[in-house]
């Protein structure tokens, strides 16, 4: 202990506590809330019990201040941590949003990208008399946007055709539909149509062709494969 502090603490006994300020005043001095010229401040130089009380309050105040500072420091550190954490989370979310957007765009792009397919019906002409055409083997289309190059059956007439994908031969449940004009390729007639099969579920369908000026519709079995 500093000698002068020990002096103030022990050298001025005042057992009767004459002229002593009240506890609150001593506490205010310890917490430096009183003006510098307050008479109670000088009283401590001549009263050991008051000086002891003052030291007690001062110690308590310093402990409280230290713990308050510690709490404040921890609070600031916690806030910083939370802020850094939020920033990181935001950055991660932003990044993943970007990734999702990119993947969605890619997906949409993939969906929008048309698939070229060719179906050759040249040797699968329907027989007069209502008999079924020769069964098609392995004719299938994916469930996406399809640019179909259709080679029409032998002896087909040139002109505008409607091509549809239907669930049945009645032609009521149309899944996709497209129109196109034939073009000649030697003996063959080629027809280019776009069919949107993105909404079609995998399964068995019919590919229907009809020349616009004709009433007769020809159906060919078709498999739609999932993506």
């Amino acid at each position: 202990m500093k000698p002068i502090r020990q002096f103030f603490l022990e050298a001025n006994p005042n057992p009767e506590r004459q002229g002593c300020p009240d506890e609150k005043t001593l506490k205010d001095i310890a917490e430096n809330r009183l003006p510098a010229d307050h008479p109670a401040r000088l009283h401590l130089a001549s009263c050991s019990p008051c000086f002891a009380e003052f030291r007690s309050f001062k110690g308590q105040f310093e402990t409280k201040s230290a713990s308050r500072r510690r709490i404040l420091a921890w609070g600031i550190a916690a806030c910083l941590l939370v802020a850094v954490g939020l920033f990181r989370v935001k950055a991660i979310i932003k990044k993943s949003d970007g990734n999702v957007a990119t993947s969605q765009a890619q997906k949409q792009g993939a969906e929008l990208a048309a698939v070229d397919r060719t179906i050759d019906l040249f040797n699968h002409g329907t027989v007069r008399g209502g008999a079924d055409p020769n069964p098609l083997e392995a004719v299938s289309l994916p469930s996406s946007l399809v640019h179909l190059h259709l080679i029409l059956p032998r002896f087909s007439d040139a002109g505008s055709y409607v091509v549809a994908v239907t669930r049945d031969r009645a032609g009521t449940a149309i899944v996709a539909r497209g129109t196109g004009k034939t073009r000649g390729d030697g003996q063959r007639l080629l027809l280019d149509v776009s069919l949107d099969l993105r909404g079609a579920q995998a399964g068995s369908y019919f590919l229907a062709t009809v020349r616009e000026s004709d009433n007769g519709t020809y159906y060919y079995p078709l498999n739609v494969q999932g993506r």
Partner: protein, 193 residues
């Protein structure tokens, strides 16, 4: 924490009232801080005795905290009077081995000598300046307290400090001469409790 060390009960073995407990714990913490080398167990026993006494006279106690601090301080002084310092011989190596922050206690006689020197050599104004410094006031506040200029306050602070330093160096020199420590292996006055 003081609260965990102290066993504060009244004469019937019941826990003391909250105001007594708070007052005694505050006084105990203060004494623990001010009288650092003091044995904590002895200090705790004193605090418990103070709490017991307070419970007996609770009706007559106007301010429990003030009572607790005064009573504990009184008990400490009483203890110091009853336990005079014991001189032990230590080799210089042992003295060097002592930690620097270990307070070197001085005997009651030396303390009295120091206090009388302070009273004799420090004026009332010097003591007031020093007590204001203990309150963490600076030259500006001290100037306001004494209604003097800043320069005069700074001068007063410097003078009080110089005088205090002179008193301490004189006291140490006297102590050294008395012990004859100049040319012989040192015998250090060390208070053991």
């Amino acid at each position: 924490m003081a609260a965990t060390l102290l066993h504060l009960v009244d004469q019937y073995g019941q826990p003391v009232p909250p105001q007594v407990r708070l007052a005694v714990e505050a006084a105990y913490r203060w004494a623990e801080r001010e009288y650092r080398p003091f044995d904590h167990a002895v200090l705790a026993a004193m605090a418990e005795a103070v709490a017991l006494a307070m419970c007996r006279h609770l009706d007559g106690i106007e301010s429990p905290r003030r009572y607790a601090v005064a009573a504990l301080m009184g008990k400490l002084h009483e203890w110091y009077r009853a336990h005079p310092a014991v001189e032990i011989l230590m080799d210089p190596a042992e003295v060097e081995a002592l930690p620097d922050d270990e307070p070197k206690s001085i005997s009651a006689a030396e303390l009295n000598l120091l206090f009388s020197e302070i009273k004799a050599q420090l004026s009332e104004r010097d003591r007031q300046v020093l007590v204001l410094l203990e309150q963490d006031l600076g030259p500006q506040e001290i100037a306001k307290a004494f209604e003097i200029s800043y320069f005069a306050a700074a001068k007063a602070i410097q003078r009080a400090r110089d005088r205090m330093a002179a008193i301490l160096s004189e006291t140490r020199a006297q102590k050294g001469e008395e012990n004859g420590t100049m040319n012989r292996p040192r015998a250090v006055g060390f208070k053991i409790w």
